[in-house]
């Protein structure tokens, strides 16, 4: 067993590593926003009184949730440009991550909305609040509050899936590490990126556990 670890290689990798971290965090942030927004759309659509709205949304979200993100990224990157405008690898990655995880957040919202007591709906009806206001002022604030930790969990899950966007060519942490390793015939970069994931994910999961306790206690 020879652990030849070369700190010079690490030093050379660091500048591109930070660029990669920036891209990873950007993809994560924008992907999360997409997932939160789209997930809410799916969740509301699934509660629609019209079957012709519910059915296609159910079919679509089930399909997306049960197929690999990697293949979805290939699909978005190679197939979509045949029909519409082509997107950069990073944009495709963000759309892919956001779309994939929106099918998970939709279920989180659904559970949150189901968890709002019936009395709240009845009170809104008794006050003859219009439908829009019932959702915006009564139901969603209560629903979203209790699902925040669950949404946070999906952000961390998304972080761990984010290296997949490197496979279609986005230069996130992993993409940078792969390029660097291929060019220099070294492997330290992979180890650095692996450790970086642990360093980011562990405190984040601690934070979410803390949030979970707090929101559970006060809601």
């Amino acid at each position: 067993m020879n652990l030849d670890w070369n700190w010079d290689v690490v030093g050379d990798f660091m500048p591109v590593f930070w660029e990669g971290v920036a891209i990873t965090l950007r993809a994560l942030f924008l992907g999360s926003l997409t997932a939160f927004a789209l997930g809410l759309v799916w969740a509301l659509a699934l509660r629609s009184p019209y079957a012709w709205v519910r059915w296609p949304v159910t079919a679509f979200t089930e399909f997306v949730r049960n197929t690999p993100l990697l293949v979805q990224l290939f699909f978005l990157y190679y197939v979509l440009p045949e029909w519409g405008p082509s997107m950069s690898a990073l944009t495709t990655g963000i759309v892919g991550l956001g779309l994939h995880y929106s099918t998970y957040t939709a279920e989180v919202y659904r559970a949150g909305i189901d968890g709002v007591p019936v009395g709240q709906w009845e009170a809104a009806t008794a006050l003859s609040l219009p439908r829009g206001r019932t959702w915006l002022a009564v139901i969603l604030p209560q629903a979203i509050r209790r699902v925040l930790p669950a949404l946070g969990n999906y952000v961390i899950a998304m972080l761990k899936d984010s290296p997949m966007i490197a496979v279609i060519g986005a230069l996130d942490m992993f993409g940078e590490a792969r390029n660097f390793s291929n060019e220099t015939f070294t492997t330290e970069a992979y180890t650095i990126v692996g450790l970086a994931f642990l360093v980011i994910a562990y405190p984040a999961s601690l934070l979410i556990r803390f949030l979970e306790r707090r929101l559970v206690l006060t809601s």
Binding site: D4, T58, Y78, N153, P163, V193, G194, L198
Partner: protein
């Protein structure tokens, strides 16, 4: 359009490889899940701590990076090379096994304490208690979350294509390069993965019914197209089962 030759030469073997990777990593994952899951209920703090470390590390790690690390970085350290497919199986099994460990731990914790005490009173050893009393009763609770993990694992197998294992996704990329047509290939790929997930979910439902029946519970038959409860977010919510009902969203 895809030619006959491409389909039989790349796609069919690819499907078989995907199935193999899924089965092997699921098997490894189950072993890891039960091992780490039961160790996390150990009486010795050092054992609990080490098992907890394992869980935290593999839960925070991206399976894709672990795979690359196993294929490219580990051989330089150890001096021998893993076959890419086994590196993929190892990465997937270790990662999803860590999630499975949490399922096992949660289900074991949900077994009424009286059962454990009865085992102690009857002079069962720790292993006997686990094997004869606790795991049989916890098992029905484990099946639905295991189903979710299995689907995540199946989706994860697509990652092995990035370390040159010729699975379905790899075949899909080859066909795209060969035929310059991407729409049919990737649509077929997505449909195939969906079909596999569908079959696995139905299979796990049968297993769940048997498991419930074996502890005297019955569950109503759901229709063939009944939806799977979505996977619980496995990060950061290890105590989901232990949380008060209604506190957070359902875990299944």
């Amino acid at each position: 359009m895809m030619t006959e030759g491409m389909f039989t030469n790349y796609f069919l073997p690819g499907i078989w490889i995907t199935i193999q990777v899924t089965v092997f990593s699921a098997a490894l994952g189950v072993v890891v899940a039960f091992l780490i899951g039961t160790l996390r209920t150990s009486r010795l703090w050092i054992v609990r701590f080490l098992a907890g470390c394992y869980f935290e590390i593999f839960r925070g790690m991206s399976a894709l990076i672990l795979m690359f690390w196993l294929v490219f970085a580990l051989p330089l350290m150890l001096g021998w090379q893993l076959v890419p497919m086994w590196a993929g199986v190892l990465a997937l099994g270790l990662t999803y096994g860590a999630y499975g460990a949490e399922v096992v731990r949660g289900a074991l914790a949900a077994v009424p304490v009286a059962q454990r005490e009865a085992g102690v009173a009857l002079g069962f050893t720790r292993v006997q208690r686990l094997r004869r009393i606790e795991i049989p009763q916890a098992w029905p609770e484990m099946v639905p979350p295991f189903n979710n993990l299995l689907i995540e694992l199946l989706k994860g197998t697509a990652l092995v294509s990035t370390i040159t294992v010729a699975d379905m996704a790899f075949a899909g990329n080859l066909v795209r390069l060969g035929s310059n047509e991407s729409a049919p290939v990737y649509t077929l790929l997505l449909v195939l993965y969906f079909a596999m997930a569908f079959v696995l979910t139905r299979g796990m439902r049968v297993l769940e019914r048997h498991a419930k029946a074996s502890v005297g519970q019955t569950i109503e038959r759901r229709g063939l197209f009944a939806r799977r409860r979505p996977p619980a977010p496995t990060l950061g919510a290890p105590d989901a089962e232990a949380l008060p009902a209604g506190g957070t969203v359902g875990t299944r």
